[in-house]
């Protein structure tokens, strides 16, 4: 019998430390599948953030560099400018990218750095125990918004991907989700487009992936997928916001 599906080469064999059902694992695998498909494993360099995915450097079977909290786009910029023939991606959580790293990401997009950012939005700080993030939804309970997020007290949730689409240097901007197999396939396609945008030298590319945190949401992994679909997607609409040579498409 022929193998139709197995572990991608661009992932290490070692198991991850992620909680059961955490979709960081799906997103890692999709990035690795894209690296395999493009045949760029030998020349890909990944940047690991601070957050639950800090150990991404142990999981991808490519060269990796870990960055200080929120600084992955700056480190990616440096590496890409010194080694412009490499494929450079940064992997960042929503705390990392939209909170402490907000300035870094906006200026990397604005400068049109030829890097790809995979932005994993699970609406809170997973690693440190489920604190509120800029992306936390209104009324959502976290350890630092125990009565639910209120706009008057905590401000509104930030749609930073929409903001990044406005940057002239941003070439490919999309928001996708991994809550079911159809959307997992779309996420893979978006990550592929983002990498291709970088390889074609068209500018900055970012894919926001809506992701779960069953542990800090206090839900089972299956309930978490449902919660994502019912609560996150209405506020964070899916689709391609910007693509090379054209406006947004669905």
């Amino acid at each position: 019998m022929k193998q139709l599906f197995g572990p991608p080469r661009a992932l290490q064999e070692r198991p991850t430390h992620y909680c059961p059902g955490c979709t960081h694992g799906i997103i890692h695998r999709l990035i690795a599948e894209v690296i395999d498909e493009l045949g760029v494993q030998e020349k890909t360099i990944g940047i690991a953030p601070v957050g639950c995915s800090v150990f991404a450097y142990d999981y991808f079977n490519v060269d990796m560099q870990q960055a200080a909290h929120g600084r992955a786009p700056a480190v990616a910029t440096g590496i890409k400018r010194v080694l412009p023939d490499r494929v450079v991606f940064a992997y960042q959580g929503d705390g990392d990218l939209a909170s402490i790293g907000a300035a870094e990401i906006i200026h990397a997009a604005s400068r049109g750095e030829k890097i790809t950012v995979i932005f994993v939005n699970n609406t809170l700080y997973g690693m440190t125990g489920g604190q509120m993030a800029p992306t936390t939804l209104l009324t959502q309970k976290t350890t630092t918004s125990p009565l639910g997020r209120k706009e008057g007290q905590h401000g509104f949730p930030l749609k930073i991907t929409e903001m990044l689409a406005l940057a002239a240097g941003a070439a490919y901007v999309a928001r996708v989700s991994v809550h079911n197999p159809t959307h997992i396939a779309r996420t893979r396609k978006s990550i592929l487009e983002a990498f291709k945008t970088q390889i074609a030298g068209r500018g900055f590319s970012i894919v926001e992936v809506l992701s779960t945190c069953p542990t800090n949401w206090g839900l089972s992994p299956l309930e978490s997928l449902k919660w994502l679909e019912e609560n996150m997607i209405p506020f964070y609409p899916l689709g391609v916001l910007k693509a090379p040579g054209g406006e947004g498409m669905k």
Binding site: P7, Y18, C19, C22, G25, P181, L225
Partner: protein
């Protein structure tokens, strides 16, 4: 040979794979791996159409699919 192969030591018992199988043949077994997770399995291997949906949904690269 089996169509769906589970690397049981990697499984975290999250059950995501059990929800996506169109044939409804992926289910939780009564076995536990060395980490203490109850592992997913397929017993009706002949019913599998090798669609790969369970493998593509698994966050832990547990499942390989053959045809």
């Amino acid at each position: 040979m089996e169509r769906v192969v589970f690397d049981e030591e990697r499984c975290k018992g999250c059950e995501l794979c059990t929800a996506v199988c169109p044939q409804k043949i992926v289910h939780m077994s009564d076995r536990f791996n060395s980490k203490g997770y109850r592992v997913a399995t397929v017993t009706d291997q002949e019913m599998c159409t090798s669609c790969t949906l369970c493998a593509r949904t698994c966050p832990d690269v547990v499942i390989s699919v053959y045809r």
